[in-house]
């Protein structure tokens, strides 16, 4: 009788171990699958957005063309320059980019995106100088998309980097974004 009881205990122990291992594996699996769908680096459409934004014509006519990309360069090289309307080039370009981001990405608690962060920096071989930093909303959770665009100028590896980080709301995922875009177009059609 004692032997039977011992065998039963062993079997119960074995089943328990199998169940525990199974649960651990399932947790790992869930994390693995979830991770793949919630972060998107080097997003192609964000790059396109940044490239198109660079061509945007502002109201600031100065020495360079009034396009954002040229004004950012002018702000970096001669930050004291002024537009035709007397405003500082750097202030004007900062305000234009801010307005574009506000108008292009709808952020908020119940929106698809919770926040965004944008940085434009100039790099040489040894230094990095941040020209524009814009942040809005909440950018803290791990669900995001980001894209970076490099513009080369000068011969010795000098480049400007335009980086945009978009933070999804907690309840959003990349799938829900695709779904929303689908709905948006459906509505338009």
């Amino acid at each position: 009788m004692n032997r039977n009881r011992k065998a039963q205990e062993e079997i119960a122990g074995f089943v328990l171990i199998v169940v525990i291992v199974a649960i651990i594996l399932l947790i790992f699996l869930a994390i693995f699958i979830r991770k793949g769908n919630t972060r998107e680096k080097n997003s192609e459409d964000i790059k396109q957005f940044l490239e198109s934004m660079g061509e945007y014509t502002t109201d600031c006519n100065s020495y360079s063309s009034p396009n954002i990309i040229d004004l950012v360069k002018e702000c970096y090289q001669s930050g004291d320059n002024e537009c035709e309307n007397g405003k500082n080039v750097c202030i004007e370009v900062n305000s234009s980019i801010n307005e574009i981001l506000k108008g292009s990405w709808d952020i908020g608690k119940n929106k698809l995106y919770a926040g965004y962060f944008m940085n434009i920096s100039y790099y040489s071989n040894t230094t990095r100088e941040s020209i524009i930093d814009i942040k809005a909303g909440n950018c803290s959770s791990g669900i995001y998309r980001e894209g970076e665009l490099y513009t080369y100028y000068g011969g010795s590896g000098q480049r400007a980097s335009t980086f945009l980080f978009l933070q999804f709301s907690q309840r959003s995922t990349l799938q829900s974004q695709v779904f929303l875009i689908g709905l948006y177009h459906l509505k338009l059609i």
């Binding site: 039977n4 065998a7 039963q8 079997i11 119960a12 074995f14 089943v15 199998v18 169940v19 199974a22 594996l25 399932l26 699996l29 693995f32 699958i33 793949g36 192609e44 459409d45 396109q48 957005f49 490239e51 198109s52 934004m53 061509e55 945007y56 014509t57 009034p66 396009n67 307005e99 574009i100 108008g103 292009s104 875009i181 689908g182 177009h185 338009l188 059609i189």
Partner: protein, 171 residues
């Protein structure tokens, strides 16, 4: 004796349960990995097709602005294209598209669909719009450029080109 037999049956049942559970989990992990990989591949394939289609549309002479700007398209040309009757009859077949439109993103304007009467104070220029069986829509951000008489200069605004083709299927 019968109690021992019962124990053996119980033992076998537990072992069978454990084996099934084990193989079930292995199969689950395998299929999850395969499905994840397939989904990724499908997504990449679908994105590539959509991107290629949109890039092709941006670069065609009917849309392009200048060679120096790869994301710029000419709003004047697109509006003109909308009204070319000969094109209107054949362009669906020519481009094999169900839907083709340019949507203004920034700055937002008061007008809706772009027409000769309200241009350029409008938000959407629909070039092709078949009303049935749309394929998957895909889009690309573009700079929508035109000549501005008041400012006497070219100006570019932020927009996106939205394309739908039956050839580009959902993943």
């Amino acid at each position: 004796m019968s109690s021992r037999g019962q124990l053996k049956i119980q033992e076998m049942a537990f072992v069978l349960l454990a084996i099934m559970l084990f193989f079930g989990i292995v199969a689950l992990i395998y299929f999850a990995l395969v499905m994840n990989d397939l989904r990724e591949q499908g997504k990449i394939q679908s994105e590539n097709e959509a991107n290629a289609l949109v890039k092709r549309m941006i670069s065609i002479p009917e849309f392009s602005w200048t060679k120096q700007c790869s994301t710029c398209i000419d709003h004047d040309k697109i509006l003109a294209l909308k009204y070319v009757e000969l094109y209107n009859k054949t362009k669906e077949e020519f481009w094999n598209l169900d839907y083709l439109a340019i949507e203004q993103i920034y700055p937002k304007k008061a007008g809706g669909e772009c027409m000769n009467g309200n241009y350029p104070n409008c938000n959407i220029t629909t070039v092709i719009s078949k009303k049935i069986n749309y394929g998957k829509t895909s889009f690309a951000y573009v700079a929508l450029c035109r000549w501005n008489n008041d400012k006497n200069q070219n100006i570019c605004e932020l927009a996106r080109i939205v394309v739908s083709s039956k050839d580009v299927k959902d993943e």
